[in-house]
Amino acid sequence: MSMLPLDKDDGGARFPGFSSLAQSGHWDQATAGVVLGRIALPADIRFFTPTEEATARALLDQLLDQHGEPRVPVVNMVDARLADNQTDGWRYDDLPEDGEAWRKTLSALDHAAEEQFFQPFADCPEHQQAVVLQAVQDLGDQPWQGMRASRVWGLWTRYACTAFYSHPWAWDEIGFAGPAYPRGYKNLGLNRREPFEVADAIPQEDPVKADRPAQDQDRP
């Protein structure tokens, strides 16, 4: 079971008792060094200014639905990547490189929140933050604050998901056991599990069925 708070209706409680970290004794040294670093005390913020940090924190909490403790320190992880200039090796010709793009989009996010709700994004209540973000996503390839909305959305979600789903607590809530060397797997195939894997307690919890109207089921 993951350390992270997640409501049963939101996919919590599916893998009771499952812990990827409990397997860390079976990981090779190089891998353990990298993965265990993620549960250590988070690195201090050194890239974002305090204003940017507040906006980024609120943004990342929204994108990843982290509204209580403990939480994966995503803002510190994103900040560390940007401070190290650890980019993916490309930028769009109409956006600056990632660090500058983060600064620019966070400032634009505050601007958008102020336009609509008369206060910076981080000061808005959560439901208002969600409204501002949904508007960015809904614009698709249309411009938002002078930038192509889909590219801004892609930048945020790419960094957010990479940080969050690299964390063992996040693996616990999706049933993924993490590193698999030098042990490997023995039991391949449908419904076959390793002794350390835990079966999904609610296999019928199909998120697709849950939130789509029936007539949409066959759309491509």
């Binding site: 409501d7 990843l64 490309w90 930028r91 769009y92 010709d93 993490g178 419904n191 079966a199």
Partner: protein, 546 residues
């Protein structure tokens, strides 16, 4: 002695079990910069390493320069997705066009072994039809060589990697040296779905030994092929060609970034390469130069190598350098099953179909696509889910369902288009060199293939019992950018990978491919490089004079 071992002893030079042969590295031959070696090879990936090994075997004095590190898999690679970022080329690049293609991750490599360090491991051959798509269908380009010219090299490389798979019924039907691997839940569902809708699917072809090969151990099915194989089971040149090259006197100089090709205005020949190592500018003299930096860095290096003779970049007399760069459309479609699939267990490359590879006269588009199993790890899977528009609580809920999803990926043969190219950007990197700007736009045929591939993947997954399917549009692989052609007005190199403009300059990587088929390119890149090396070895070591 085993026939493969007679021509390439790499697998027997490694230690038994995982690990590196550190003695081989420690005692490798070392040349001085002022030594005029027979050939300097820029880049130690699929193409460069093959050339190094072949020419070292032929007795040539060879040096390979590699911008990235000389990996030690046990120390440097991890069984973890985010921790493998250093396997990618992440120097700055600019992407543009109507359909910009993200670079860096799945389509780049760095370090000895190149992108084959983190490729899935699929090694299909091209089909005979790939070599004359223009004559047959009026699209793409004709190669200046035929399938028959490459066939013996395909066979050689397949034995050296080695490749495992079922007897292959498509293209030029052939067998593989190793038997097919067992499949996981993901492969099982692909086979089941394909059978149910009349599509032929086969296990393989993957460059993962099935059984011990030399000292290389058997695969442990841990599913982290894309993070570098710590086991030494999956082939990459780091373990398939570099050990033998070192044993035959090659030097691999890692952490060495080549910045410019040396050129003698008087003779019109290349004289070596300028490179930076540890912050110091150095120059390696050589009688021949082979560039193998792949489809972005090879054109960039040529464009940055200006001189009086080549004011627009070396070999660029006809504005061909950087053009006709291709990616494959690689949509991935996932299906939801009540069963637990746990697709991340076992190597992602398992099962493929090439039923849709060739032009189907009944369809409005030309050429086709292949379909293969892929098995995204959590971060990549989160990209799939986020691409459906999910975020916040919705994203977490979807992700909690991970164990129930199976995933297929298509490779669509996007056509080589003149305007899809690398040029130099205004922006400079830390070596003060202009970075590459890669512009990409799809044509109608490309878009039709993406749609067709998606609908076939949906059909297969639904036939296997999926109650819902989702698709993410993405790209895979790079080829072209310095293509081979019949003459200098249509390409940069000839059928033997020798540049038209500079007699002792070769390009021996994926950038020479004029078309790409629907096949993963690694095997073909190695086969083309092996052929070029053989042709070169037949010439005097002093370099061509014509």
């Amino acid at each position: 002695m085993n026939r493969v071992r007679q021509r390439n002893e790499s697998a027997w030079l490694l230690p038994p079990g995982p690990g590196s042969n550190n003695d081989l590295r420690k005692h490798m031959r070392r040349f001085e910069d002022q030594d005029e070696v027979d050939i300097v090879v820029v880049g130690c990936g699929a193409g460069g390493s093959t050339v190094l090994q072949r020419l070292a075997r032929a007795g040539w004095r060879v040096v390979g320069l590699e911008a990235g590190p000389f990996w030690d898999p046990e120390q440097d690679w991890v069984s973890d997705e985010a921790g493998s970022h250093h396997l990618y080329w992440t120097e700055p690049r600019v992407i543009a066009g109507e359909d910009p293609v993200p670079l860096g991750s799945n389509n780049s490599g760095r370090g000895v072994g190149g992108s084959m360090v983190h490729y899935a491991g699929y090694t299909p051959r091209f089909h005979p039809s790939d070599f004359h798509t223009f004559t047959a269908d009026g699209v793409g380009a004709d190669w200046p060589l035929d399938y028959a010219d490459l066939k013996p090299f395909y066979e050689d490389i397949e034995a050296e990697l080695p490749v495992a798979g079922e007897a292959w019924p498509w293209g030029d039907p052939h067998k593989y040296p190793h038997r097919p691997h067992p499949v996981s839940g993901n492969g099982e569902l692909f086979l089941r779905g394909a059978r149910a809708c009349g599509v032929t699917a086969k296990v393989g072809p993957v460059a993962i030994a099935n059984g011990r090969f030399g000292n290389r151990p058997h695969c442990i099915y841990r599913g982290f092929c894309l993070q570098g194989c710590k086991v030494n089971a999956k082939a990459s040149p780091l373990i398939t060609h570099i050990p033998d090259a070192l044993a035959h006197g090659a030097e691999i100089r890692a952490d060495s970034m080549v910045t410019r090709i040396g050129f003698d205005e008087r003779t019109g020949k290349a004289t070596g390469v300028h490179y930076v190592q540890g912050g110091r500018e150095r120059y390696q003299r050589a009688r021949n130069v082979a560039i193998a930096g792949y489809s972005i860095e090879t054109p960039r290096l040529l464009l940055n190598s200006t001189s009086d003779r080549f004011p627009e970049g070396m070999c660029n007399d006809f504005d061909q350098v950087g053009r006709y760069l291709m990616v494959q459309g690689a949509p991935q479609t996932a299906g939801r099953f009540d069963d637990e699939v746990r697709m991340w267990k076992a190597p992602p490359p398992e099962v493929s179909t090439e039923d849709f590879y060739e032009t189907d006269p009944s369809k409005p588009y030309k050429r086709g696509f292949s379909i293969q199993t892929v098995s995204p790890l959590p971060i990549t899977w989160a990209e799939h889910v986020a691409a459906q528009g999910h975020w916040g609580a919705d994203l977490r809920r979807y992700m909690s369902d991970y164990v129930h999803w199976a995933c297929l990926g298509a490779l669509c043969e996007f056509l080589p288009l003149e305007g899809n190219r690398v040029t130099l950007a205004e922006e400079k990197d830390r070596y003060d060199l202009p970075v590459a700007r890669f512009s990409y736009s799809q044509c109608d045929n490309d878009r039709s293939l993406m749609e067709a591939a998606q609908s076939v993947m949906e059909r297969i997954l639904k036939a296997a019992g999926a109650d819902e399917v989702i698709t993410i549009k993405r790209y895979a692989h790079l080829v072209g950018g310095a293509r081979m052609a019949a003459d200098e007005e249509h390409g940069v190199v000839d059928q033997d990978c020798r540049s038209f403009a500079v007699p002792n300059l070769l390009i021996t990587d994926g950038s020479v491919l004029p078309t790409q088929g629907s096949a993963n390119p690694a095997l073909t890149i190695m086969a083309v490089a092996a052929r070029a090396a053989q042709k070169l070895a037949e010439t005097p070591r002093t370099g061509r004079n014509d």
